[in-house]
Symmetry: C2
Subunit: 294 residues, 2 copies
């Protein structure tokens, strides 16, 4: 025996319970046309009309009334089943999967504030380059620098960022032409698309060509690029979010005329169900607060 498209049954349930395609559409975050089409498709499959369409409201037909309680019950079971699975197995420990550079430069310096607010939650930070397998339960949540496309996961935009030209105070004099100063310093770069792109844009802007290998100091980790820059070894191309504290303390300076928006952005990502966990809600709130207080 063949079931109709399952999605159409879900839409039917919502439409029937609300007595309106429009409200169902709002509840399900789709357009009203989507509901209309799914209901029609369901009716075609079943070979009968489920709703009487009146101008201001819709009513279930006899068949519709017959169908609804079964469908409702079915979805209750689905919900309950999923809920059981999605319960937090370890409410007192929060495991975060974070990019190493972000962990070092951003999260670690601030995390004590979260710990102070919620001393009963033990935070563990797992620095890893790629999004960890949530399946295995190794992480509860991930903070990623990307485009927000994490198939199967829920994700939420945290903040954007810019690439800045940073250096130890005095190394560059912004009042003098930048071109010559760039040529006479080491250029410290992270091996990442945004940094490479930013250097390219800067070179174009300055009409700089033929910058040779020795000029560049390539480092595989933004945290180390910052360290090298802090130590005055050259000019670094760094993300604003990561050097915020150093700028505030005057340990680094940035060139006022250079700033390139990153292609990527910071996202909070994880399985949908995790976002209902108490510890995750607390962390999310704290995190958004940290970003907004900058």
């Amino acid at each position: 025996m063949q079931l109709p498209p399952l999605k159409s049954l879900l839409y039917f349930k919502h439409a029937a319970e609300l007595g309106s395609f429009k409200l169902a559409a709002e509840q399900l975050y789709v357009t009203q046309a989507a509901i209309s089409q799914q209901i029609r498709s369901l009716e075609t499959h079943l070979g009968c009309v489920l709703f009487e369409r009146h101008t201001r409201k819709i009513c279930l037909t006899a068949k519709g009334k017959l169908l609804l309680p079964h469908i409702r019950k079915a979805f209750e079971y689905l919900h309950h089943g999923v809920q059981v699975i999605e319960e937090d197995p370890q409410p007192a420990g929060l495991n975060l999967s974070v990019l190493p550079s972000f962990a070092t430069c951003w999260l670690l310096p601030r995390i004590s504030s979260f710990q102070r607010q919620h001393p009963n939650i033990r935070v563990r930070i797992d620095p890893s380059d790629s999004l960890v397998d949530f399946d295995a339960g190794e992480a509860d949540l991930g903070i990623r620098f990307g485009k927000g496309h994490y198939p199967g996961l829920h994700s939420e935009l945290l903040a954007s960022d810019d690439m800045l030209l940073a250096y130890k105070p005095g190394l560059i004099d912004p009042s003098k032409p930048l071109k010559e100063q760039i040529k006479s310093n080491h250029l410290i770069m992270d091996i990442c698309p945004d940094a490479e792109r930013a250097w390219g844009i800067l070179f174009d802007k300055l009409a700089l060509t033929g910058v040779h290998e020795p000029h560049f100091l390539e480092i595989d980790n933004a945290a180390l690029v910052m360290q090298a820059t802090l130590a005055g070894q050259g000019v670094g191309m760094l993300r604003r979010q990561l050097i915020q504290p150093q700028l505030a303390l005057g340990q680094l300076e940035i060139h006022p005329e250079f700033e390139i928006a990153c292609d990527y952005q910071y996202y909070l990502a994880g399985p949908v169900g995790h976002f209902n966990w108490h510890k995750v809600k607390l962390f999310r709130t704290w995190l958004l607060g940290q970003f907004n207080s900058l």
Copy 2:
């Protein structure tokens, strides 16, 4: 609260019950890769592993075992609900929606055989040019001439057909060149893509050009084309299935060297659930028998 993709839950149920992705794939008429992907997607959504993968078999994990009974129950409700709706409201009456020409030339001459076999089923034939709305319950089943694409409906190929050059015996002499004989007769055609195409192909074959309007007798119904041809008013382009009885009786002849397969085919179509109805099963069997006995 957000449910995972519903399809993945269905696949999970089958895979869990069968203990094998491969068997689930067979049962669901998809490839095993599809199952694998859906299960992975479900696991990603839930953020936990549901199956332990061993080489020859898979086992549910603790979480998987927790989930299965809920999902199973949910689908039982869905099935039951749909089953209730899909019950035959009128088991003693069979309403067929059929193209007018097919009804006249094919179905009506044969339907008495079905009536004799099943005298307790009252057949009603509704000739209509387009596929009727099954939603309103006006028809139980449709016989269509098309490509088998009836979205939302189940459809089943019944037979193919060919376009033939038919005429009253004696009107055309197959032993003489066809070209001149075509030129000197009226050409009777149905206004339908297959007939128009077939005439085009014939003209190309005979290198016939400049056949003028008066040559053609255009009639909007294949049954009437046959009548005109039977009356000796000209040469008709007709489908084999529709003129079978006339050929057998010698009332019509066909040119032995011309035969063009139709683009379209005959399909039996209707809502999936209707195919479980007793009266529909009987009719389907009879219909297939009729086509195969030709």
